[in-house]
């Protein structure tokens, strides 16, 4: 109201305008300063593992409703997801095992299995050396004769002191690990006759201390 009066009363106009400018500047400064918040730094959202005050268990990660099927995760393939065929442990793999699968299997085995089963599968890994009950060696006749489905099932459900690894290793990777366990079993029980003929020559040269390159 004063401002309106001021514009009418010619002589007070400059003063009123200056006051107005002052007020606008201060308001601007106040707005700017009050705008210094961390809205972008700290956003009203949840990221994985963040706590929540809203849910009674204190977690923002919600368990799926029972019966939920994730996209591309419909588990109707019995062999793939349970290691059995018609309820009997199977000795077949649900997909053809290639060299790449074996290499992936070795990598996953070394990450998840070797702490107890050790890199060769004899069951004397570092954690066993520190007091964990020793698992059986894969070289036991019982385990050499066991169908691959058995290894898949043990990884999926756990056995004895061993917990389930289903949350850590995907079903396809469990099959690749099972395939690699077969490789380990073979590696300790192979004869020269198991080596393909062209490779056998190289192997024999290597065992006499010569590499094919040196031989020429």
């Amino acid at each position: 109201m004063q401002f309106v009066e001021g514009t009418h009363a010619g002589s007070t106009a400059p003063l009123a305008r200056r006051r107005l400018q002052m007020v606008v500047c201060l308001a601007g400064l106040a707005l700017t300063l009050s705008g210094c918040r961390l809205d972008m730094h700290v956003q009203p959202k949840y990221l994985p593992d963040w706590p929540s005050k809203f849910f009674s268990d204190g977690r923002s990660d919600r368990p799926p409703v029972p019966g939920t099927v994730a996209r591309e995760d419909l588990r109707i393939d019995e062999l793939m997801y349970s290691g059995t065929e018609n309820g009997v442990l199977s000795n077949r793999f649900p997909f053809p095992i290639t060299r790449a699968d074996l290499e992936r299997g070795r990598e996953r085995y070394n990450i998840y299995c070797s702490p107890c089963h050790d890199y060769a599968g004899t069951g004397r890994g570092m954690i066993v050396q520190r007091g964990f009950p020793q698992p059986p060696s894969y070289m036991l006749p019982r385990l050499r004769q066991a169908p691959v489905g058995h290894f898949y099932q043990v990884m999926t459900n756990g056995i004895g002191a061993m917990y389930s690894y289903s949350a850590r290793v995907s079903p396809a990777d469990r099959w690749r690990i099972a395939a690699y366990i077969r490789v380990l079993q073979m590696s300790q029980n192979a004869t020269v006759q198991d080596v393909p003929a062209p490779e056998r020559e190289r192997l024999q040269q290597a065992s006499t201390g010569q590499t094919p390159g040196q031989a020429q």
Partner: protein
């Protein structure tokens, strides 16, 4: 009329101008140093945790692979803090009476999560992705430091944008062979300790880095939207 100021005021005036410049400079340096100091960045500062978990023991002495616990690191932006079940995989059998581990057992019994204190915190407008970094030859220890020697974990970078850009401008300085990404004891090649990649021995990071940058097709992305989305 007498002069208000004595002649010496000239000198004082000049000195105060110079003083102001020096003071401003000093203030800038001091603020800069404070912003880079662990007091402000929390670098190399450990936090109180519910359980004094030692990466030195687990990753260093026992040689457990990073991915045994941080299972999502290869397929997600988030490396993942392991669930209590992962701890209990071993600790249901060993150190079962240790008081230190009681919070873990309690969490497993009751289903209430352990609440760890976060060390490496990014502003929430930064979208960092672990999976692409580990897939392109950037090792865990490149950012997380000598984690396998840390009894209590601390962060080893400022996590400032300049820190990220250091590598985004020139990844050749940091990249390592993919097979060494999860090796916590990897050291960059030196003349005395060369690194072999695809049958070739490298004795310096500059050469190895430039080979790997080409091999892995590393991009020097510096667009704002690379990280700020």
């Amino acid at each position: 009329m007498a002069q208000i100021f004595h002649r010496s005021s000239n000198m004082i005036a000049r000195l105060s101008i110079a003083g102001a410049v020096i003071l401003l400079g000093a203030l800038t340096v001091i603020l800069y140093e404070i912003a880079l100091s662990p007091w402000y960045t929390n670098e190399r500062v450990t936090l109180q945790q519910p359980v004094p978990f030692s990466h030195r023991h687990h990753a260093g002495e026992l040689g457990i692979d990073c991915r045994y616990c941080h299972t999502a690191v290869e397929k997600s932006w988030y490396a993942g803090v392991p669930p209590t079940q992962t701890c209990m995989t071993c600790h249901s059998q060993i150190w079962t009476n240790a008081d230190m581990l009681e919070p873990v057992r309690q969490s497993y019994r009751t289903g209430v999560s352990l609440q760890w204190n976060k060390l490496n915190e990014l502003p929430e407008f930064v979208y960092f992705n672990h999976s692409i970094h580990v897939a392109k030859g950037i090792g865990c220890t490149t950012c997380h430091g000598p984690i396998a020697t840390e009894p209590m974990t601390y962060k080893t970078g400022t996590l400032y944008m300049s820190w990220c850009l250091e590598c985004h401008r020139d990844p050749a300085k940091f990249v390592r062979p993919e097979s060494e990404v999860f090796n916590p004891f990897y050291a960059q090649p030196t003349y005395g300790a060369p690194v072999t990649f695809e049958g070739v021995k490298y004795t310096d990071q500059a050469t190895l880095g430039s080979v790997l940058v080409k091999k892995y097709q590393l991009q020097t992305y510096q667009y704002c939207s690379t990280c700020h989305r």
